[in-house]
């Protein structure tokens, strides 16, 4: 920024980059430390907890006069912690649950939000604004406030420890309705009039014209719904108790409580749990950053 030319001169480009790189390292080192530990055996960690490069990946692996003498490097040996973690807890099931729940939520949120937002934005009816305000006011209520009664409602419905408990209460999102409504309002009335004259029904206008015009907002909603669902913790912690129903977050938390000191195993499991979202993040970082920033979703 030209306005800060003097600041820039004083600090210098180099200085700024040094500070930014130090901050960047402090952000990324914990992840690298996790990856490094995930390739190290418990014995190795106990002997030298602070070594960064895992033995199994170093050039001298298996050479005589080393602790690993005679061992051979194989895929199974390199990924030993991953294999063991995967076998000692039903991580496959955890992942399936998480993906299934997240995708169901996405489908549900998009459908319910588009329908409701369409009515709020383009129809005139009695009580429209009152209902909309009521919906909006729900956004101010934090999750812990409705957690206990929700638990009782879910229990009464006999939904505890089922997919229903993890999906149904989350297939409507006030914020998505709000975002879509704001966008739907910007679509010119002429478009609706023209379609009506052509004999299109209200639903087909929504489906054929309005939705294709709202792709950017829909991407935003899909992304924060997936990330919110993938990372949610308190709700599934309370609503599930059997391992078969656990999403990955609860599974990982349980695993870390059981394997408290097996750091290699734990880091391998953690790596697995963050990999899908981080891969998605690297492919769609711009959209993800914009999506999360707009949603106010932090945790």
């Amino acid at each position: 920024m030209a306005g800060n030319a003097k600041l820039r001169r004083r600090l210098g480009r180099g200085g700024i980059h040094v500070l930014l790189i130090v901050a960047g390292l402090s952000m990324i080192m914990p992840f690298l430390w996790m990856v490094s530990t995930s390739f190290r055996s418990t014995l190795e960690i106990t002997k030298d907890p602070y070594r960064f490069s895992p033995e199994v990946l170093s050039p001298g692996f298996g050479a005589p006069d080393t602790p690993s003498a005679g061992e051979s490097r194989s895929v199974g040996r390199v990924f030993a912690n991953y294999v063991e973690a995967w076998q000692s807890a039903p991580f496959g099931r955890y992942f399936f649950n998480t993906v299934f729940v997240a995708l169901s939520c996405v489908v549900g949120v998009v459908i319910t939000s588009a329908l409701a937002a369409y009515a709020f934005a383009r129809f005139r009816f009695k009580g429209r604004d009152v209902i909309f305000m009521l919906f909006l006011s729900m956004m101010m209520v934090p999750e812990p406030v409705y957690l206990v009664p929700s638990f009782i409602i879910i229990a009464r419905l006999h939904w505890l420890d089922t997919y229903y408990a993890l999906i149904i209460p989350w297939i409507a999102k006030v914020f998505s309705i709000f975002l879509l409504r704001q966008h739907f309002k910007t679509i010119p009335q002429d478009l609706f009039d023209a379609a009506t004259i052509d004999g299109a029904s209200r639903f087909s206008i929504l489906w054929r014209i309005v939705m294709p015009l709202s792709k950017a907002i829909l991407v935003t909603i899909v992304l924060f719904t997936i990330i919110g669902s993938w990372n949610s913790f308190l709700w599934p912690l309370v609503m599930t108790h059997s391992p078969e129903m656990r999403p990955i977050q609860i599974g990982l938390a349980a695993f870390s409580q059981e394997e408290g000191t097996e750091y290699g195993l734990m880091m391998a499991a953690t790596c697995l749990s963050v990999l899908p979202l981080l891969v998605m993040y690297f492919f769609a970082q711009k959209q993800i950053i914009a999506s999360l920033a707009s949603s106010g979703l932090k945790e």
């Binding site: 920024m1 030209a2 800060n4 600041l7 930014l20 901050a23 402090s26 952000m27 990324i28 914990p30 992840f31 430390w33 996790m34 530990t37 602070y50 319910t112 329908l115 409701a116 009515a119 129809f123 009816f125 009695k126 209902i131 919906f135 729900m138 101010m140 934090p142 999750e143 812990p144 406030v145 409705y146 957690l147 206990v148 009664p149 638990f151 409602i153 229990a155 009464r156 149904i168 409507a172 006030v174 309705i177 009506t196 004999g199 209200r202 990330i227 993938w230 990372n231 913790f233 912690l237 977050q249 938390a253 870390s256 880091m267 749990s273 981080l278 970082q285 950053i289 920033a293 945790e299």
Partner: protein, 329 residues
């Protein structure tokens, strides 16, 4: 479709569309409304009701008026948890604002590789709280954790981090050979550790928000101030800071709201959860304890929920009010 339509036919269609509106519109809202009513509105009203009743096996058995609130007010654990929460808010919000604003300012200097920095800073935001907790528990391990190894190398001692129940003021005073009374000990180092991890996780988020705010500042403002002979500090103090104040205020309120609700970090990182010596038992942990750990008291848990709601509602309304007025300078 090119069938010519008459004016009469057109007005008939428009009229029919209007007539259908009320009933039809409700049909469109219905799916969302059912979910929002059943899983938001009803539970909120229920929490309100529960907080005035005795509950056995999920059924209301007797009206107790403000009984739960009185018991709450008489429970020292509740007041302690509220105090712990306030310390947590104090330990997370100002650092979150100042550190992220500082880096947002650096990123806003038309530097190269802006996108790369932003990508890296935002990584912890996308990562789940559970993963962050597991990774940091390993880093903060007092015996073999990497952080204490590095601190030891720098002769900075080996703090007990998550296992340390003593207050940070007490620890600092002990370094100077002084001893403080217990009440002046401050938040435990365990709680401060949680605050650090929490700040680390949310930093990228706040940076992105601040950066957006900074990029909205009109360039002319700086030009004008420079003509008046403003130096870099004056530019920040009299141009950037005042114009940025709505963003700063937004970050302040949002971070405060999120910090008041903190739970997962406490649950995941401390052992026993809320420990050591209950020094990390925050408000939502207290609520969780009362609601789900036998002997549970749903009435009491609901009373805590309402207290939390009142705090957060106040913060939200203040934010709305000021955002509407758009008072900057």
């Amino acid at each position: 479709m090119s069938t010519p339509i008459t004016a009469r036919e057109l007005s008939r269609r428009v009229r029919r569309r209007k007539r259908l509106s009320a009933a039809g519109a409700l049909l469109y809202i219905l799916p969302a409304a059912v979910i929002i009513i059943a899983f938001r509105l009803v539970p909120i009203l229920a929490a309100f009701t529960f907080s005035f009743f005795e509950i056995k096996m999920g059924a209301l058995v007797g009206f107790v008026g403000v009984g739960h609130y009185i018991k709450l007010a008489q429970d020292p654990t509740f007041w302690k948890s509220l105090g712990t929460t306030l310390w947590f808010v104090v330990g997370t919000v100002p650092p979150a604002i100042f550190v992220s604003l500082f880096f947002a300012l650096l990123l806003n200097q038309r530097i190269k590789a802006l996108g790369l920095y932003r990508t890296v800073y935002f990584m912890p935001v996308v990562t789940s709280m559970v993963a962050v907790a597991v990774i940091w528990k390993w880093i903060l391990e007092p015996e073999i954790g990497i952080l204490n190894f590095l601190l030891e190398k720098l002769h900075l001692g080996e703090p007990g981090w998550l296992g340390e129940s003593r207050g940070i003021f007490q620890l600092a005073a002990a370094k100077l050979g002084l001893s403080l009374p217990r009440w002046a000990g401050g938040p435990s180092l365990a709680l401060v550790s949680l605050a650090i991890v929490n700040t680390w996780k949310g930093l990228g988020y706040n940076i992105v928000i601040f950066l957006a705010g900074l990029q909205n500042i009109p360039q002319q403002q700086y030009e004008a101030a420079k003509i008046d002979g403003a130096g870099p500090w004056q530019l920040f103090r009299f141009v950037t800071w005042p114009i940025l104040s709505p963003t700063t205020f937004y970050v302040f309120i949002m971070s405060t709201i999120v910090s008041f609700q903190t739970f997962s970090l406490v649950y995941l990182m401390t052992s026993p959860p809320g420990g050591p010596e209950d020094s990390t038992k925050v408000l939502v942990y207290y609520l969780f304890d009362k609601g789900f750990t036998p002997p549970a008291s749903l009435g009491r848990a609901s009373a805590v929920a309402l207290v939390l709601f009142a705090i957060i509602l106040t913060l939200t309304l203040v934010q709305r009010r000021l955002a509407e007025r758009r008072v900057h300078y």
